[in-house]
């Protein structure tokens, strides 16, 4: 059997890689890709805790499904924003979008 620690370490690694991508990438689409990695890491944790806890309690899987829905909503709005910004400013580099920074 696989101990719970393996899943937790895998999820922690995936989350950290996503965190690096969010902080370091310049392209807004790449930042959204990294956010997806972080959401997937959270989902692995939720499902692992469901399996290693009381399997009759479905809360872990239900929460994972709600994270799926939130991720889909986040991607749809995020990419619509990116496309809208690209139309107006002709760039998708996050550093160049500094209108609010005076």
């Amino acid at each position: 059997m696989i101990p719970l620690s393996w899943y937790l370490i895998l999820a922690a690694g995936l989350f950290s890689i996503g965190l690096f991508g969010v902080l370091a990438r310049r392209n807004a689409v790449a930042i959204l890709l990294s956010v997806e990695l972080m959401l997937n890491a959270v989902n692995i944790n939720l499902v692992a805790f469901w399996r290693y806890g009381d399997v009759a309690q479905m809360a872990g899987q239900v929460f994972a499904i709600i994270v799926f829905a939130v991720a889909a909503a986040e991607v749809a709005v995020g990419l619509a924003l990116v496309i809208s910004v690209y139309r107006r400013r002709n760039t998708v580099v996050a550093e160049d979008l500094d209108l609010l920074k005076w």
């Binding site: 937790l8 902080l23 890709l33 799926f68 619509a80 690209y86």
Partner: protein, 185 residues
């Protein structure tokens, strides 16, 4: 049974690895490697395709965790919809000039440091937790995970309210996305 008693880490080195563990290690390594490729590739189409590989790896992890429904949903929703949406967005926002600059910003080393610190901190915190190396008990015989999940999602005693709120959120987000991306002349 032995693993329940003794410390998991020392036992693991003496007992030969089971097939499940070997599958986990291969899938986990592929998932982490393709995740690294997602954040380091310069070409965003390549990044998006590596994301598909990562999502497949996560789907196999769900299958290993006996969450078959989630594995299927992962393939259908994440790979079938979200990854394709990303590839569309990359192709709609591509310009030759924007591919010349560096792919990471000047403070990328701060991000790398923070990511390593987060990973180290999480592992350090989890190691102190008593349930860290526990193993799963076998599923009860005749356990119907999908049926239980469907019941939990639709019964008033379960999670019907969060489920409905999630669908309203999805509807609002999609209407908002259409409004944002609509080309106002």
């Amino acid at each position: 049974m032995l693993i329940f008693m003794g410390s998991g880490i020392r036992e693991k080195e003496f007992t030969p690895m089971t097939g499940e563990q070997i599958i986990f290690l291969i899938v986990g390594a592929v998932t982490l490697l393709s995740a690294l490729m997602v954040v380091t590739r310069r070409d965003l189409v390549h990044s998006a395709l590596w994301l598909v590989a990562t999502l497949f790896g996560v789907a196999i992890i769900y299958a290993l965790l006996n969450a078959g429904f989630l594995a299927v949903v992962q393939v259908v929703v994440y790979i079938g919809a979200i990854a394709i949406l990303f590839i569309f967005a990359v192709m709609l926002t591509r310009r030759q000039a924007s591919d010349t600059g560096p792919s990471v910003n000047n403070n990328w080393w701060v991000g790398a440091l923070l990511a390593v610190a987060t990973f180290g901190g999480l592992v350090f915190l989890l190691q102190g937790w008593s349930g860290f190396s526990k193993t799963a008990s076998a599923l009860p015989s005749g356990f119907d995970a999908i049926g239980q999940l469907g019941e939990a999602l639709t019964s008033p005693a379960g999670f019907v309210l969060p489920f409905e709120v999630a669908s309203v959120l999805l509807l609002a987000a999609l209407v908002g996305a259409v409004y944002l991306a609509f080309n106002k002349k």
